[in-house]
């Protein structure tokens, strides 16, 4: 046989196949860990020197203590001891009382024995693929997108009352704001010195005008001016701009950056945080979207305790079968999560992520246009994504808070939900709908008119499979036009179980006076909820 020549090669090849990968993995020895600490040793913390004046004012206005345990610094002695027992101390968080370190498994064992350490979570620093994909082709008339993105929320009403975010400080967390420092869409903000502070939490420097243009587009949906129109409603607000995202990669450190940025925003007097980002299956399971598991979600909930209104994009996974639901931190109960709707009509845009949370809380809370005209590094352009729905609502929220400055952040949260175009109806695609300035200022005083009736041709309670044993939804004459077709004539309805949990939900375009007939026998042991143009009615077909 002539195969003997292969013997040496055979051994070498086996060696390479088996051991080379292991060599490649040796770098894994040094892993990232979040070390959570038991307590803080008080050291004469002075809130007046630590916080910006605006942060003090926010606390006073919302009747919050000037500082609390969360604001105290991480105990220096603890950091020093952790540093002595790890390779690198990356960062630390006051709010979560945690120190992020790079350590070997041997060091990890020592860290776990330290008396002031309560638990250690494994972090991660590997490369993952971005979970947000905002650039999707969508042939929509750009003028239509721009003109509708704020007017459909009632921007004219706020404008009339000179509500434009003045006096409200908004922090934006994003991947970077490339080109925004020179972009004409933000010239009015630069002239009025409305950019209070910037910080790049990825590179630890002030310059945020690089890294990516996603933040530029997001910012323009809060306060930009495009083609002589406002592209966002809070064009007179103040801004804190933070880079927390690394870019197309999504290492876990982004969540640490986010929490650090939230502490920074709190310290520097932010009222609102807009964060158009989210983390899904690269790091988590759907059951982790329970409002308490992810690091970023826990940070967001603490930020809300400080009186900040946190607004976050629901996510763009709606048409991704492997996930579909909201990402973190949009799962936090104190985060106002924003879904996306079509330009033409007030219903779900295909990519917008769905709720509820894993523990069945309502998400998203509200929605806004999901296809927008916004600023690009040079010029302007259209783009898709709940990343841009979120800042549209952030701009709205700034104007709303300016109007009712006495509200606490969570009172404002509830008021914003209440001014949703669908309120009190909600579902897991639209939340309470698109916020409305009229509704917000009206304070829900306007009694809704009955816009439809539910008729039952045959009063048969036996649930016979009889076509006549049905519910007909009949639209009132005043609220129905057949010509020309009116895209705003939408009937929303949900099917709920007896415990009140939504099982399925629908939107129907109303093109005739009786747009919906439901067979009663289909809904045995269920409840039905209908909404049309401001009026909601619920029926229980029977047990």
């Amino acid at each position: 046989m002539m195969v003997s020549q292969y013997k040496g090669l055979k051994i070498r090849a086996c060696f390479c196949l088996i051991f080379l990968p292991l060599f490649a993995l040796s770098a894994q020895d040094l892993l990232k860990y979040r070390v959570f600490l038991k307590d803080k040793i008080a050291t004469g913390f002075d809130p007046f020197s630590y916080f910006d004046q605006k942060a003090i004012e926010r606390r006073i206005m919302q009747k919050l203590p000037l500082y609390d345990w969360y604001d105290l610094p991480v105990t220096t002695e603890y950091i020093d001891e952790i540093a002595a027992n790890s390779t690198i101390v990356k960062t630390h968080s006051r709010w979560l009382n945690a120190v992020v370190v790079m350590a070997t498994t041997e060091q990890l064992a020592v860290l776990g024995q330290l008396p002031f350490v309560t638990r250690i979570e494994e972090g991660k620093s590997s490369v993952l693929v971005s979970s947000f994909d905002d650039e999707r082709p969508n042939p929509v008339d750009s003028n239509s997108a721009l003109s509708r993105q704020i007017t459909r929320m009632g921007s004219a009403t706020f404008e009339e009352k000179k509500l434009n975010g003045n006096g409200i400080r908004i922090a934006i967390f994003d991947v970077g704001f490339s080109g925004a420092d020179k972009h004409e869409a933000f010239e009015h903000l630069r002239k009025a010195n409305r950019i209070v502070k910037t910080w790049d939490f990825v590179k630890n420097k002030e310059n945020v005008w690089q890294g990516g243009s996603h933040g530029t587009s997001v910012w323009s949906c809060i306060a930009g001016r495009i083609d002589d129109q406002w592209s966002g409603m809070a064009w007179d607000a103040e801004f804190l701009l933070a880079r927390t995202e690394i870019g197309s990669r999504e290492p876990f450190s982004e969540e640490e950056n986010w929490v650090a940025a939230a502490e920074w925003a709190d310290k520097n007097g932010a009222d609102i945080i807009n964060s158009s980002l989210g983390y899904t299956d690269n790091r988590y399971f759907p059951e982790d979207m329970d409002g308490k598991t992810s690091y970023i979600t826990r940070g967001a909930n603490i930020a809300a305790k400080k009186g900040l209104l946190i607004i976050n994009a629901a996510g763009n996974e709606g048409s991704d079968d492997s996930w579909q639901i909201i990402g973190a931190p949009a799962d936090a109960d104190s985060v106002l999560s924003i879904g996306g709707v079509q330009v033409c009509c007030d219903y779900h845009i295909s990519f917008s992520s769905f709720g509820p949370t894993h523990d069945l809380r309502l998400k998203p809370n509200l929605c806004a246009q999901g296809h927008t005209m916004c600023a690009k590094p040079t010029g302007t352009g259209e783009t898709d994504g709940t990343s841009f729905s979120s800042p549209l609502v952030a701009g709205f929220a700034a104007c709303a808070w300016q109007a009712k400055r006495g509200l606490t952040n969570m009172e404002l949260f509830k008021a914003l939900e209440k001014c949703g175009s669908l309120y009190p109806y909600y579902d897991y695609a639209h939340g309470y709908g698109i916020p409305s300035a009229e509704r917000f200022l009206d304070d829900g005083k306007k009694e809704p008119e009955k816009t439809f009736t539910i008729e039952m041709p045959l009063e048969d309670l036996n649930f016979n499979k009889n076509e006549e044993n049905s519910y007909n939804i009949v639209i009132s004459d005043k609220y129905f036009t057949s010509e020309p077709p009116d895209k705003s004539q939408l009937l929303y309805y949900s099917i709920l179980d007896n415990a009140g949990k939504i099982k399925s939900f629908y939107v129907i375009e109303v093109t005739e006076k009786t747009p919906l007939t439901l067979m009663k026998y289909e809904f045995y042991n269920k409840r039905l909820r209908f909404y049309y143009k401001g009026y909601m009615e619920e029926i229980n077909p029977g047990l």
Binding site: L17, Q28, F285, L490, S504
Partner: protein, 237 residues
Amino acid sequence: MRLNALLILLVFTSLAINAQDVVFERKNASDTVRPSTGPNRRHYVYPFITAGFIAQPGFDGAKVKMGHLGQWGVGFRYKYKLSRTFALGFDLSYSVSDYELKKDASKAVPDTILYDEQRLIFNNFELGVYFRINFGRRGNILGKYLDLGAYADAVARHTYFTRLTLPENGSALGGSVVKSRSTESNYYQKLNYGIQARIGVNRWAIYGQYRLSDMFYSSYNFQELPRLTLGLQLVLR
């Protein structure tokens, strides 16, 4: 016809809905029980495709051309998660190994004729087993992993393909191209086996296979074909 379409729609949506222009509908998951299938769940089955190349030049008698697609395949893989770090599983695939022999004076497999193109093609059904080591914390994704395992190929068909351009010698056939495919050979083993390894990151993996068995019956005294194949695998979902 229209009625049929409506009936189909009714069945499909499981709802008795008449006269509707449904522009949006959504059904929620019926419960919150954790599923047992998924990329980082207890069970996971996923399809993959493979493209590789022969990673050794071969020796006198059976030197092969390098750098062209020497192996491709399609199959599915089952993964059983043992813990956050360990898993094991198997895969079934159909693959084609294509050894393009060099036009080299030493060529002796399966004959000594020097063609312009000469390829030994093996169509295989392959069974692989593997033990997986995962690295790092991850969500419901495959993440980073190292697979170590073995495989066995059942050769379903073997083709010896040749192409020869006849010399321009004035004859009627001069300059013409003669292609032949011989599938009736019996010099090759019907079953092969070897070891394999993969390093993967989510949908992508680099793999290597090393054949331990001999490709040809010893009685033919053929030089062995290269044993090492390297390539890429792509998970299709």
